[in-house]
């Protein structure tokens, strides 16, 4: 039994032990598939699993959401969002 097996249905700790499908990440970010896959190319998030059905862990999903908000709210492009995410991680904020 893992640490969070006793949580009620629908409650997840967004760490590396939980995984989400591409559609879940798109929905959580309010972003198109192409944008999410570009986030992978820019190193904002990592994908696992087969190329036609990639999976993302919980921390990646949160980073994708932050990147999407930065792009949407501040008008930064993907390289800018990737840089901001790197800096936030270095500061221990992500």
């Amino acid at each position: 039994m893992s640490l969070h097996d006793d949580l009620p249905a629908g409650v997840r700790v967004m760490d590396r032990t939980v995984t989400f499908a591409l559609e879940d990440v798109c929905r959580a970010c309010g972003a198109r598939r192409t944008v999410v896959m570009e986030m992978v190319e820019y190193g904002i998030i990592e994908a696992a699993g087969p190329a036609d059905a990639p999976e993302f862990h919980g921390e990646a999903m949160i980073r994708a959401q932050v990147a999407a908000r930065l792009m949407r709210d501040l008008g930064v492009n993907l390289p800018g969002a990737a840089l901001a995410i790197d800096l936030l991680r270095q500061l221990g904020r992500l």
């Binding site: 629908g10 700790v13 309010g30």
Partner: protein, 331 residues
Amino acid sequence: MQFKDYYEVLGVAKDASPDDIKRAYRKLARKYHPDVSKEPEAESRFKEVGEAYETLKDPEKRAAYDQLGAGYAHGEEFRPPPGWGQGDFAGGFGDGRTGSYAGGFESADFESAEAFSDFFESLFGARRRPAGGFAGGAPSSRDGEDVNARIAVTLEEAFAGAQRQLALDVSERGEDGLPRRRRKTLRVNIPKGVTAGQRIRLEGQGNPGLGPGARPGDLYLEVELVPHRRFTADRGDIHADLPLAPWEAVLGASVPVTTLGGTVDLKVPPGARTGQRLRLKGRGLPGKTPGDHYVTLRVMTPPDPDAATRNLYEQLRDTEAFDPRAEEVRS
């Protein structure tokens, strides 16, 4: 409701040019963006700044706002004139693709999310999401927005897990189709082992969806650890000071150490020094790989030694050749 002086919010003059307004917005948006800002009240300031920009960047809205707001000061009690809201701005505006908070940048790649304040919506109506957005629903149906909130958790709760009652405001549509806020109370399970900055997702507990088949949004709770009087946490590891008597440091000792899981005995080796760190493996926060509990040794001196103790220290002084400053003298 209180009047919001959007010029004051953006820090621009009433006759500011569109470029001045855009510059002020961009600067403040960077400063208060909730994902990057450490400013207090960043989220509410960011939304306010976004609303101000949404209003002042649009000549029509700006003119309407100027007309309505003449004579009002920031924070003053405000009520829209009778009949307001029947015209161009009633029932929403735009296509909703401008951002997760008010005033964001236009992009076809994203959907909108957050609602505006009551003040803004009383002037210009509610933001509408694009018909049939990502979810592909019919124009009359749309998924609810995700809600982000913070939850303060004590280290004890993070260690053992806990249940908490949480109240938050969600946006929903009333029977009249107009947006309204509703206070929602939730019983939240704090999973054991959560760390600062980690998010807990509660599926379907965000804003309700609209129309048949629409899914409610999710609730994301960002964990904030309440400062502890004795411990600090670094992800799953716990750090604390461990005071030692001089003789314990010199001779070594087995000393009781308080951890989140209870008291354990720690063997301090002879010759221990202030600043040395010792590790109690796996005694930090629980996790797939449990964190460790680190103690930093602090050699303390008796605050008010009696005559006998002083005498013993005097004997030490006269017989012990140890010079703690020998290194400094040589260098």
